[in-house]
């Protein structure tokens, strides 16, 4: 009887469209994953210096995962340094880049990225593989690279619903895990 109910529930989920959403989650990066990835990339650049940029520019590296990727930019020199999915942007100025609402994406990223624990910026960007604009929230933080200043690392999630307080809570969770003990 119990098995029957379970099979029925699965059938209901498939019919109502809930199931495909759950399946897609396995391919969707979460806010906490993005923060951890950006922190790891910043640490990687601290350890390896500017010779680490080549690895981040490689789309087959560990810095491209699920539907997200790490990108590196220079806020002082106004240049994209590494972008695994948009090599055309590498070496180009970034400060003039706006989304369709006119938001200067990298000006905002540079501002929040210089905060002690980094920060989030929401904007519209093309989702990898989707070919259309999606709501993107990117997390940025400063990378400490030898003989350089103003280098930041970012990565984003594509989510139409997540709010800024929820994203900021994810920062707190990652940087201050003691506040959020595992249940």
């Amino acid at each position: 009887m119990k098995i029957k109910h379970f099979v029925g529930l699965i059938g209901l989920m498939i019919c109502s469209g809930t199931m495909p959403v759950l399946a897609a989650d396995a391919d969707t990066a979460t806010a906490e994953e993005v923060i951890n990835k950006v922190r790891a990339a910043a640490r990687f650049l601290h350890d390896k210096g500017f010779s680490g940029y080549a690895e981040i520019n490689n789309r087959d590296s560990r810095w491209v995962w699920k539907d997200s990727y790490v990108f590196v930019y220079d806020c002082r020199k106004d240049r994209m340094i590494a972008h695994p999915l948009r090599p055309d942007l590498v070496g180009r100025p970034i400060m003039q880049i706006t989304d369709n609402s006119g938001k200067f994406i990298f000006k905002e990223l540079c501002k929040v990225g210089s905060e002690p624990h980094g920060g989030w910026v929401e904007y519209s960007w093309t989702k990898p593989g989707a070919g259309r604009l999606s709501r993107k929230a990117s997390y940025a933080m400063t990378a400490d690279v030898s003989f350089a200043t103003g280098i930041q690392v970012g990565a984003g999630i594509y989510d139409e619903n997540i709010t800024l307080p929820e994203l900021n809570k994810a920062i707190e969770k990652v940087f201050d895990p003691a506040k959020y003990p595992a249940l």
């Binding site: 601290h46 500017f50 002082r76 030898s146 003989f147 350089a148 200043t149």
Partner: protein, 187 residues
């Protein structure tokens, strides 16, 4: 029989020191990438300055012997350190590079005192070099923005090293002291 005239190795040492220091600062202030710094660091700031330093031995100049040989080695090790990072050979983190620079700061402080017995221009060059090292140390330990300050400050240092180089070369060519270097700070 007339004695054969010998060149002064310091002109090559100062040229290599000045030029390589200058291009690293072009990078530090954000005008160019690191590529030219690595190759110049190996050949001009490194090999040529080191050979000039070793040639100083025969002139009996212990200050030049030590300074040029050592700073030649500084450039070779810095270039190899950065190349090593690229090939994952004993990689050096920003903290490691910071400690490397701190050791060179201590060494420079000793030569800075010695330079005060040479000339005003050389003592000023070493004062600026020491300040530059301290700024780069701080840039590697919590104050990354000082990289740019060190960049402009060390450009002046490199230009002054070239001034001392030009003083020697022009004195030889013009037969008189065209660019005076001034009296030593400690007589």
């Amino acid at each position: 029989m007339a004695e054969q005239k010998l060149g002064n190795p310091a002109v090559v040492g100062l040229a290599g020191f000045g030029l390589t220091t200058m291009v690293l600062q072009f990078h530090n202030v954000g005008w160019m990438g690191m590529g030219p710094v690595i190759w110049l660091g190996l050949i001009f700031g490194g090999l040529a300055q080191m050979i000039a330093g070793l040639q100083e031995m025969k002139t009996g100049n212990n200050f030049g012997y030590c300074a040029f040989t050592a700073y030649g080695c500084f450039w070779i090790s810095l270039a190899l350190l950065l190349i090593g990072n690229h090939y994952n050979l004993y990689t050096s983190s920003k903290t490691d590079v910071g400690w490397f620079l701190i050791a060179w700061t201590g060494f420079t402080a000793i030569l800075w005192i010695g330079s005060m017995r040479v000339s005003n221009a050389l003592a000023t060059t070493f004062t600026l070099l020491l300040i530059g090292f301290v700024l780069l140390d701080l840039a590697h330990f919590g104050y990354p923005d000082l990289t740019v300050v060190a960049g402009y400050e060390l450009m002046v240092c490199a230009a002054l090293a070239w001034y001392v180089m030009a003083h020697i070369i022009f004195a030889d060519l013009f037969g008189r002291d065209v660019l005076p270097v001034g009296k030593p700070w400690i007589g």
